[in-house]
Symmetry: C2
Subunit: 329 residues, 2 copies
């Protein structure tokens, strides 16, 4: 057996999904990854069937509720499972944290408990979207609501460094999400950002991309503000849900024995677009957030992504990248 | 034969689609609607096969290019087919204009040539999205880029009045698009708008809606700023394109005789989500904008929507609605 090298904590509370799904996904993952140790945080009675030598339990039964306000999160729930997970990451007891709960709480507490990497003012939420040939990453998906030129340029640099560290892309094509591709299109802060990025030697800026062309391979990294990014993510999710429904209806009315296999295949490929995890990047540690409605497959994917980021040394390489670019400036 | 009562102008230039598609759609429409007269604007040699007693031709071969800048539009193309169409609408030679070209130009010239209805400061782009049970309208889809409380409240009132006039909804449920449904979620201008709408006696405000739940029937009218609305529209379009591709792939690999009919059915239902027309509301006249990549079916739908708005007296009823609400305030 390979000696366990990767320590990942999972906050099993605060999700909209049943804990059994989360635990099942974690169990699938640990059984397939003998080089990992999991720290399960939540109600210890929920955790059974894990290999005892590669599983630790932190009994912390208090969740941050899905609908907690910012104030609740910061003031009241000092003993929450999320806070316990972030503290493990802060004191380097684990390499990564996978969270299934409240995104807002994760972002607020993440910034409070984990240090931001030097040269980065705000962490951003990034996620990979797959398309038939290759894939792209988009950020920010909701960690920051401000729409400012400097922030978007920083996201462009974070995204580019992330794609290089995890995707091995040396010169990732970076685009700004806009409502047109011509230079004069969109609000002023976007046009200012485009001017700044065009001059940035650390970013291979390719211009604007429109939301309908996201999957066309124009960019490896798509940059937008957290409000817009969150809306795009959820629009895609909603549209794919509608598509699944239409496919279901069409197949059912076709009265065909093969319908079920086709339907399953379509469901799997469309689900994969939305249910993979997203990462909070820019902090000193790996943090992966699962979709709130995730199933065991989603948890397994999120854990695989966390391991992938540890192996690729994403935080370390981001830090090195930002240090180097600051020296050059 | 019914005497023609509805006069609709079609600007056939400036589209990304071939003119033959646009002309074919217009011909389909006029042959099925004996109560309409079309005014075709563009290159007169392109227009054949129309009933001569219900078709007028305005020979105006100059298009506003798809990629014209605002300045180009306002200064240079004084003889464009779009300007000709808007002038016909302004002097009441026609009841409605259907445009297939540059959206930005339509909005800028529309506001310049057609008066805004009293009580409305800026027109908005609105579109109906269909779901399995019922449908919803969303605005603004790109006519205005500013994110301001007052503007969003105005869009809420326009959307509510539009749903009442064209959809017969007496008390349309109006929601604000946000990145969460709790009161404390999202940027300040959205929370301020929510407070204002909650007190507005002319709007049945039901709170926030998230983009993944747009098709869930929570709201009849979804209000957002033009940047976000445009991005949502195009995200849905892009995601449905991806879905169509996945369905195609799954059906092809299933090696099934019925695949083709299922594939067609799915394509038709998913296409309908994106290729219907959008209306520019808030001006004294009916203006419907086709998707830039529309086919003959899209043109026919846009013409049908224009006729529907004339029959429903949308501009007149919006005017009456805003006059009444101003008297009450």
């Amino acid at each position: 057996m390979v000696a366990p090298r990767f320590q990942i904590a999972v906050d099993t509370l605060g999700s909209e999904s049943p804990t059994t799904h989360i635990v099942a996904g974690a169990r699938d993952f640990i059984n397939a990854n003998s080089d990992c140790v999991l720290t399960l945080i939540g109600r210890s009675r929920d955790f059974s069937g894990f290999p005892s030598n590669r599983c630790r339990v932190v009994d912390c039964p208090t969740a941050v509720p899905q609908h907690a306000t910012l104030l609740d999160v910061l003031r009241k729930k000092s003993d929450s499972s999320l806070r316990a997970g972030l503290s493990l990451l802060a004191n380097r007891s684990v390499h990564a944290l996978v969270s299934t709960g409240n995104s807002g709480a994760l972002m607020v507490l993440g910034r409070q408990i984990i240090s931001t990497l030097p040269g980065i003012s705000r962490p951003a939420m990034i996620k990979q979207f797959t398309r038939s040939k290759g894939s792209f990453w988009m950020l920010d998906l909701g960690a920051n609501l401000a729409r400012r030129q400097g922030l978007l340029s920083e996201f462009a640099r974070i995204g580019s460094a992330y794609a290089s560290s995890i995707g091995g892309l040396k010169d990732a094509k970076v685009a700004l999400l806009n409502i047109g591709t011509e230079a004069h299109k969109g609000p002023q802060y976007l046009r200012d950002t485009a001017m700044e990025l065009a001059r940035d030697p650390h970013v291979n800026f390719v211009g604007y991309v429109e939301a309908h062309a996201l999957f066309d391979g124009i960019a490896d990294v798509v940059v937008t503000d957290g409000f817009t990014g969150n809306v795009v993510l959820k629009s895609i999710e909603g549209a794919l849900g509608i598509a699944r429904q239409h496919v279901q209806d069409a197949l059912e009315s076709s009265d065909d024995a093969k319908s079920e296999s086709v339907s399953k295949q379509v469901n799997t490929s469309l689900n994969a677009q939305t249910y993979n995890g997203a990462s909070l990047v820019g902090l000193r540690g790996v943090i992966v957030k699962c979709h709130g409605n995730t199933n065991h497959i989603g948890i397994r994917s999120a854990l695989a992504l966390a391991k992938h980021e540890i192996v690729a040394q994403v935080p370390q390489r981001l830090e090195a990248h930002f240090e180097q670019s600051q020296r050059l400036n």
